[in-house]
Amino acid sequence: MKHFFLASILAGAIALPAAAADYSIMAPAAPGGGWDQTARTMQTALQTEKISNKVQVMNVPGAGGTIGIAQFASQQKGNPNQLLVGGYVMVGAILTNKSPVTLKDVTPIARLTGEYEVIVVPASSDIKSVADLTAKLKANPGSVSWGGGSAGGTDHITAGLIAKAAGVDPTKVNYIAFSGGGEALAAILGGQVTAGISSYGEFEGQIKAGALRLLAISSDKKIEGINAPTLKESGLDVVIQNWRMVAAAPGLSDDQKKAIAADIEKLAKSKTWQDSLKTKGWIDTYLSGPAFEAQLAKDIAATESILKDIGLVK
């Protein structure tokens, strides 16, 4: 007993976990949000599939995940039992908040899920297609107000990319940032703004009910079950995905990294995970290894350039 006690104090002091297969997942957001749900779904799946014995979720909310990632990078260095959930929003937040800690300071493992952006207008709008919208935008950029989520987030970036692809100065985009999807959706439904921009899931119900007209989706190819052209097909070279990923601590050995990647791959292929994706309506966009690293680098570069174009990053 005494030894056990001493060992526990030692273990506690240097924060070493008790058994090797335990994971602790940090969700850099408050309970309830997308990242938190991803972390908690991972927790359930990892435990149900017996990939890990015991999984804990810890929330460190704040500033688009930049507070969480900063804490993660500095406190968990070399710890192979720590995971961090993150996503595309983090890429933008790191840039706009001038965060000293970036995704380079952690070990990205894999992309897990993703959502595509869609452009909608109220059903009563006289805008019938992306061509109508870009014509209006070219004539008077200020007259097209775009309703979406927070400034500098995926929705704002997409609006900027669309303007740029249409040959309109991205700084002239009249983007109206709302807090959270609900408020933006209400403003779009109420005809307060010209067009709405957000992930498909936010608008799905309204589109199906006929209250919103879907103009285009930001995927590379048409998505089954979604009756809309891609932005590419509409003549705008814009492909964007709001993805969520999992990363490990910095300073891991190659073997440790491989072990984590293997566990995550088991998770992503597992039945529990796939079933949860279905009930939650998340799209499986699993991507790992060098392919993911290349995609990540591309996303970061593209985001930085468009945020500079919009004028949010100097």
């Binding site: 408050a30 309970p31 309830g32 949000g33 938190d36 749900q37 908690r40 359930t44 810890m58 929330n59 460190v60 909310p61 704040g62 500033a63 930049t66 507070i67 900063a70 706009t96 908040n97 965060s99 200020g142 007259s143 107000s145 927070s150 400034a151 500098g152 704002h156 009249n174 109206i176 940032a177 709302f178 807090s179 959270g180 999807g181 609900g182 408020e183 959706l185 209400a186 403003a187 439904l189 109420g190 307060q192 703004v193 799905e204 119900g205 309204q206 199906k208 009910a209 209250a211 009930t279 939650k280 309506g281 949010l312």
Partner: protein, 505 residues
């Protein structure tokens, strides 16, 4: 099947003994986590949601409803007894409720809060069932300019209801407004007043601020009284239950609170706390006992508590009819629904009537269960106050910091508790009111954002603010609320009016 039959069917299944037990477990768990200051119903539901996954759809729905109501009521209990509001919408409850508790009337305060919550929850849930489609149409008419006008009205009515001195009330308000600027500006993504500190980028959390200002500030203030202050609070003076006069004064406040809270909750950007502010201001104006306001007026607890609960049911209107999660709690509920295969949206009432009515029935049952669980416990709760002072206040600090650590385990957040606790202490010493700071912190950003959105949509045309009839009417009401008391004050002052304008400066 008609609406009514669906509801009866839902009630019948929710009344099964097993489901009643689930409701009871849910309410108990929700209350336990909800009493932590800084952890509101949203976080409570998010944390406990996995517990409900183990059950079948009806069982989990009903436990979920229980957790939700338990989380809400838990916040009120600590607000009243310990002056530690757990979330922004129970701040107003603490104002009068804690004064009552200190005067030995904690029992009636808790009872009026519980019964008021029940009455408001009952009426609002029924309203949700029958008038949701109409309310939601009204809510969608509200755009940024209408919200801006509503915020202006809220500012004016609320500011007249706080404090004895216009100078000190306004100073407190502007301290709150200044603090509300901290963090990333929502419309441009630029940071303001965060001085390179990452923890400040998201602004100052209202709940942290409320806990610091009320719980910590109060504790420091009491500590500074030293030996002069009475050693023990007299927990029960008079009856532990509500007297006839308490009932007489409460029931109208409950109904008014419900009428104010429900539509504001239904508005996509309304927010529960605005309903509680407006209700408090209304009760203060209409009361026959103005001298009691600020010293423990029962209407000041009954109205806002009812408004809070009605507003919570109100947020379900856009959620169930449009799939719009308009509050943190609603967003988490949405996640919960998806677990039961419910996809909220305009077609929900048509495609999934059983589940929707099951949910509404569950809410009614959970609401009742809350009352059943809490009324008998009132006597026990107020006994908390008889704990000797050192242990009581040490315990309050443990709970206050526990909530903050649980919501966000950061040393910085604890530092903010201490700093703002000290600020609140100094403000108390100089007789500055605390509540306007919180009001400014909550309403400031809302008003600013809506104003800027409205002007961006109109491309800088200021007249847009009065071009919508609703906005114009709201602004006119605000102007009347501002000017009328001044006029009445100049024309000979009645008792009520001088209290209302309450300023010697």
């Amino acid at each position: 099947m008609s609406t009514f039959e669906f509801l009866l069917q839902g009630l019948a299944s929710a009344m099964l003994p097993m489901n009643l037990i689930y409701a009871l477990i849910g309410v108990t768990l929700g209350t336990m986590v909800g009493v932590l200051p800084g952890i509101g119903p949203a976080t409570t539901v998010a944390l406990l949601l996995p517990v409900t996954y183990q059950l079948d759809a009806t069982g989990s729905l009903i436990m979920f409803a229980g957790i939700y109501y338990g989380g809400m009521y838990g916040g009120s209990t600590t607000s009243i007894l310990l002056n530690t509001p757990g979330e922004s919408s129970s701040i107003v409850t603490a104002l009068e409720g804690n004064k009552m508790a200190r005067a030995g009337r904690g029992g009636p305060a808790l009872a009026t809060a519980a019964i008021g919550s029940f009455v408001a929850g009952l009426i609002a849930t029924l309203a949700l069932a029958f008038v949701a489609p109409y309310i939601v149409k009204l809510a969608l008419v509200f755009g940024p300019r209408e919200y801006f006008a509503l915020m202006v009205l809220a500012f004016i009515t609320v500011s007249s209801a706080f404090g004895n001195s216009a100078l000190r009330g306004l100073t407190s308000l502007f301290i709150g407004l200044s603090l509300s600027l901290v963090g990333i500006d929502q419309l441009t993504g630029q940071n303001r007043l965060s001085f390179g500190v990452p923890d400040l980028l998201d602004g100052i959390e209202v709940t942290t601020m409320a806990v610091a200002m009320f719980a910590i500030g109060e504790t420091l203030f009491i500590a500074a009284q030293g030996e002069q202050a009475p050693d023990k609070v007299e927990a029960i003076r008079g009856s532990v239950w509500m007297t006839a006069s308490d009932w007489a004064r409460s029931w109208k406040a409950w109904l008014r609170g419900t009428v104010i809270g429900f539509p504001i909750g239904a508005m996509p950007a309304g927010g529960a706390e605005i309903g509680t502010f407006l209700s408090y201001a209304t009760e203060k104006r209409l009361t026959k006992h103005p001298e009691e306001f600020g010293n423990g007026a029962i209407e000041g607890v009954a109205g806002p508590e009812a408004a809070n609960n009605a507003s919570a049911a109100g947020t379900l209107v856009p959620l169930l009819t449009l799939g719009l999660p308009t509050s943190a709690t609603a967003a988490i509920m949405l996640a919960g629904f998806q677990q039961y295969g419910l996809q909220p949206g305009p077609l929900l009432f048509a495609t999934n009537p059983q589940l929707v009515w099951g949910l509404i029935a569950s809410l009614l049952i959970a609401n009742l269960m809350l009352l059943v669980l809490n009324l008998p416990l009132v006597g026990l709760w107020v006994k908390l106050l008889t704990i000797p002072k050192p242990w009581l206040y040490a315990g309050i600090l443990v709970f206050a910091t526990l909530g903050t650590i649980g919501a966000n385990p950061s040393v910085f957040e604890l530092g903010m508790l201490l700093v703002f606790g000290l600020v609140a202490y100094v403000m108390r010493v100089f007789d500055y009111p605390i509540a306007p700071v919180i009001v400014g912190l909550i309403l400031g950003p809302l008003a600013e954002q809506q104003l800027r959105r409205a002007l961006a949509i109109s491309q800088g045309d200021v007249t847009t603010l009065v071009q919508s009839p609703i906005a114009a009417v709201l602004l006119a009401l605000a102007a009347i609320a501002l000017i009328l008391p001044l006029i009445l004050r100049f024309r000979g002052r009645g008792n009520v009016l001088s209290q209302m304008a309450a300023s010697e400066d």
